[in-house]
Amino acid sequence: MRITKFEYLTPSSLEEACLVLQQHGSQAAVLAGGTDLLVKMKNPRHSHPQYVVSLKNIQGLEYIRRDKDMLRIGALTKLDAVANSEVIKTAYSSLAFAADNMATPQIRNIGTIAGNLCNAARSADMAPPLMALEALLNIVSPQGTRTIPVDSFFAGQGKNTLRSGEIVTEVVIPLPPARFALWYQKFSPRSARDIAAVGVAVALRLDSGGKCEKCRIFLGAVADTPIRAPLSEAVITGNKIDEVLAAAAGKQAVSECRPIDDNRATADYRRHIVGVVTKDAILEAYRGVVA
């Protein structure tokens, strides 16, 4: 497979990049790490951009820092940096784990956090935990800036809600309140850091009595996009979490997912695994709070 011919553009500022993107519209694609884009460009079944707009010459998009009660991650931050950041590990070890369990070291050294989201794969590992954490995306365009929650960013398999000329610049995550924990559990039959057949993120806040005060559950790889599991959340919310309740929530999640049959797993098996993994992730998140 060969990449078809394209023009490679290297703007040195966000303003310039946005203008170039707006100018070329759907014929342009953004290159952050390129680990997804270049593979797609070799695939004859994908449409091929005539212009590849690299962000690599734009300074200041690669950082992880605490800013008051927020965690700010620059769009071009490498997955490996997310995996190994002490700041992230302290706040949300499970988010670091999600990055650390993606693909291979070579990919993690090049692939970026925003790239993983913008590529909008249903199995994107960064999405469910960020959605569970109510993370936000800062976006710039020639018209200005806007902020949207990650959980409204996905529009379908391989599609996001960015408009022409827009670039994601930053991921913003609220720091954990008291009695709060996140757990992301990924399942693939092979133990290698494989593509997820199912990924489940659970964010839990307990009240002072130990009951679940708030809960957000997101399922990856089992619908067109990562999806929320509100019915499963409802089972947990307001209750004391134990094995039986977690299993009931898992069962509810099975009814909420819409997996496909493909060469990696059947829909039936994915549904079954959603139940198992949701249950396990709820219990792990719970242990994360009470521990």
């Binding site: 039959p189 092979r190 133990s191 850091r193 098996y269 079954h272 198992v276």
Partner: protein, 759 residues
């Protein structure tokens, strides 16, 4: 105590430094001045008539130097089957019809890869699609579309040879218990680390040098010469370092011929290297198999009769498939004593990509069925499955009609060794705990006795030149494909001549330089090439003794030995000379002629199939997650009877590699082919086990000495994979009660989530 000085030592590979540091050159690393890049145009149809091919636009593209198609006069069939030309069924390029998706239709050579790829897109081929057959069942149906017009129901009768001895009907009638079971195994691929590559340089008039990623340089030389219309020795094949073989590089592929033809046409060197997608789609795969086994046993658990029927999905052409078909029965006869045996094997043409030989040559398919059924029989009889095996395994000295005398067999010792290593008798007996263990046996030929190529040469030849500085050069065409045969052959030469491994330089892999050796397949390099090297060393040693003897003033009662770098009177280091001094004696006596020993090995009268059989036993310990259905192999133990263990480290490598490959075969690997199209032609979707999936591994060597083997050695490259999958799947049964009849076993099979599957 080791009676040898070099044999039996874990000698590091002589190519280890180059490979570990990255300085080793593989075919695709090579480049010649003016070299062009070749690319192949492949059929987008699984079965179609070619109505026309128009290459004019491709030829007109600047930078394109040559284009060839199957309509050029290169239509000679490409094959190793000189003795059985009726099996030669594939041309270098398709001319009138394509029979699988990915079949090569045209080839271009251009100044660079981009130009070559663009040129492919400019070739216009008009196809008329034809109905195809894609499963064994479809292919053998009445009035099924024919892949090759001459073969009704897509079976070439000259491939399907029945074999039998004894009287199975009588055996079944006398049996206390008879059971019939059906098994199914998937197609998987070799997944070499190094893709196929060929670099050809045509030197007018009429000479060609071909660097190729082949395991059989001698066959390839003849095959390429035949297709190009050259004399056999006008073609010089050089095999650079090779990144994996696993039984697949012993047949030629389109690139080997097309690189040569394009070089001849363009007058420039041409290199073609397959990309990974081509590797998945059109570079060979293991035969998928449907096996039916009917087995009868006495009340005491003695096997009385076995009847086997095997159907193999061969894909569109023969490759090495006829041999695979024959061997699919043979394995059943060499492990357990069978008084009555009947085998029918059918290799079925389909419009799937071509199936060829792969590590074990149907051993994994045959052993999966046989070893699963052995455990089922043991359960039926209420007998310990290890006890059942101990009652039936072949012993040294027994005669197997399909092979001959089994001159060494360590199966009993291996069963005892493995049983005690895993504490078999102390294992938890209850089922359904999620943890399970199972023990299986294997047998594997040590080199094939068949002469399908009609070669006038010895099967293996070797030359050793000796120099007055006490060093040697060993010439052999044995193919080190990654298994370490170069190192092993140097060990044999050094041992016999009393030298160190560092005293030997290996010059191999060049058909214009080395004595003929048939190459690496059927686990033959140790037995065949090793014996040739040993014979050459003995020839050389005799010359040294003859020249040294007068100088040492020996009499008829004295015997000489080559030891510790010296030629000396046996047991008397003082009455001797250095090895180099002895070489100088020969050199002077012969007026300066090179001091050289020659040796050959051909297994004449050494049985019908192979001169020796390698054996072994494996134990798998697994944990099955009852919620997810995922099986983890926690420990894998293997005891391998490879005769004298010439290089324990190399044998361990073969065992570990076999466990990895067998683990994938059992649990995750399957090339998914839908209507002839490979659906998972990448390593994301084709699930090979990674290092993280590997269990703890324990390897034992069972010491036997095979009288036919060099220093008593037998095979180790293929046998160990044979029993890996059934050890794992029988352990799954013992863990959760799910009997695996179809590989690979999937988590959803185990959980009962697939309605079409039951265990």
């Amino acid at each position: 105590m080791n009676k040898f000085s070099v044999i039996g030592q874990s000698v590091p590979r002589i190519d280890g430094w180059a490979k570990a540091t990255g300085s080793a050159m593989y075919t695709d690393d090579l480049s010649l001045p003016g070299m062009l890049i070749g690319k192949l145009l492949r059929s987008p149809h699984a079965h179609a008539r070619i109505l026309s091919i128009d290459v004019s636009k491709a030829l007109a593209l600047p930078g394109v130097k040559a284009v060839i198609t199957g309509n050029d006069p290169v239509t000679n069939k490409t094959t190793h089957w000189r003795m059985r030309p009726q099996l030669a069924d594939m041309a270098a390029l398709a001319s009138d019809r394509v029979r699988f998706l990915g079949e090569e239709v045209a080839a271009v050579a251009a100044v660079d890869e981009d130009t070559a790829i663009e040129a492919l897109s400019l070739i216009k081929v008009e196809y008329e699609p034809l109905p195809g057959v894609f499963t064994i069942e479809e292919a053998i149906a009445e009035n099924a579309p024919r892949v090759h017009d001459e073969f009704d129901r897509n079976i070439n009768p000259s491939v399907s040879l029945p074999v039998s001895y004894g009287d199975v009907e009588k055996g079944f009638a006398e049996s206390f218990h008879v059971r019939t079971d059906k098994f199914s195994t998937p197609t998987v691929i070799h997944a070499y680390m190094e893709p196929h590559s060929a670099l050809a340089s045509y030197e007018p008039p009429g000479k060609l040098t071909l660097w190729a990623s082949t395991a059989t340089p001698y066959y390839l030389k003849g095959d390429v010469a035949q297709v190009m219309g050259l004399r056999e020795s006008d073609v010089r094949v050089i095999k650079p370092y090779l990144g994996g073989n696993f039984g697949g590089r012993n047949v030629p592929f389109a690139l080997d011929f097309c690189a040569g033809l394009l070089s001849m046409r363009s007058g420039k060197p041409v290199k073609i290297t397959y990309d990974r997608k081509e590797e998945f789609n059109a570079a060979g795969r293991r035969h998928a198999a449907r096996l039916e086994l009917k087995t009868g046993v006495s009340k005491e658990g003695i096997l009385l009769a076995k009847e086997i029927s095997v159907y193999l999905d061969g894909g569109a052409y023969n490759g090495f498939g006829p041999t695979v078909t024959f061997l699919s029965g043979l394995y059943h006869t060499v492990v357990y004593r069978l008084p009555n045996y009947k085998f029918n094997g059918y290799r079925v043409y389909t419009n799937n990509p071509i199936a060829i030989g792969m590590r074990g040559f149907c051993g994994p398919q045959a052993h999966f069925a046989a070893e699963t059924q052995m455990d089922m029989i043991a359960e039926d009889l209420g007998m310990d499955p290890v006890e059942l095996r101990l009652k039936n395994v072949i012993k040294t000295g027994e005669i197997v009609p399909t092979v001959g005398v089994i001159k060494s067999c360590g199966l009993t010792e291996a069963l005892n060794k493995v049983s005690s290593a895993v504490n078999w008798s102390g294992r938890p007996k209850e089922k359904g705990t999620g943890k399970g263990m199972a023990i299986t046996c294997f047998g594997q030929m040590s080199g094939a006795n068949f002469n399908f190529y009609n070669t006038p040469y010895a099967y293996s030849g070797a030359e050793i030149r000796a120099y007055p500085d006490g060093t040697l050069t060993l010439f052999s065409l044995a193919a080190d494909v990654g298994q370490g045969s170069d190192t092993l052959l140097c060990q044999i030469a050094a041992e016999e001549l009393g030298l160190k491994i560092g005293d030997v330089r290996f010059i191999g892999n060049d058909t214009a330089v080395d004595p003929v050796d048939l190459g690496a397949y059927s686990s033959r390099q140790t037995m065949f090439s090793g014996n040739a090297v040993l014979a050459a060393a003995r020839d050389l040693k005799q010359q040294l003794f003859e020249a040294a003897s007068p100088k040492l003033e020996t009499s008829v009662i004295h015997e000489l030995e080559a030891r510790d770098g010296r030629i000396q009177v046996k047991g008397s280091a003082k009455r001797g000379m250095t090895f180099g001094e002895a070489v100088m004696c020969v050199l002077r006596a012969k007026g300066g002629k090179e001091v050289s020993g020659f040796g050959t090995y051909t297994p004449r009268g050494k049985g019908t199939a192979t001169p020796a059989v390698g054996y072994g036993v494996a134990a798998a310990e697994v944990e099955v997650n009852k919620e997810t259905g995922v099986t983890r192999v926690t420990r894998f133990t293997m005891a391998h009877d490879c005769g004298t263990n010439i290089n324990p480290m190399a044998v361990e490598g073969q065992v570990y590699g076999s466990i990895q490959m067998g683990l994938g075969y059992a649990l995750s690997e399957k090339l998914i082919i839908d209507k002839g199209r490979v659906m998972n032609a990448n390593f994301l979707d084709y699930k090979m086990p990674s290092t993280l999936d590997m269990p703890e591994m324990v390897s034992f060597a069972i010491d036997t000495v095979d009288p036919e083997g060099p220093f008593g050695a037998k095979e180790s490259g293929e046998g160990p994979i044979n029993c890996v999958a059934p050890a794992i799947t029988n352990a799954v049964y013992n863990a959760v009660g799910f009997r695996v009849m179809e590989l690979p076993v999937r988590p959803d099979d185990i959980l009962g989530l697939r309605k079409d599957k039951k265990g």
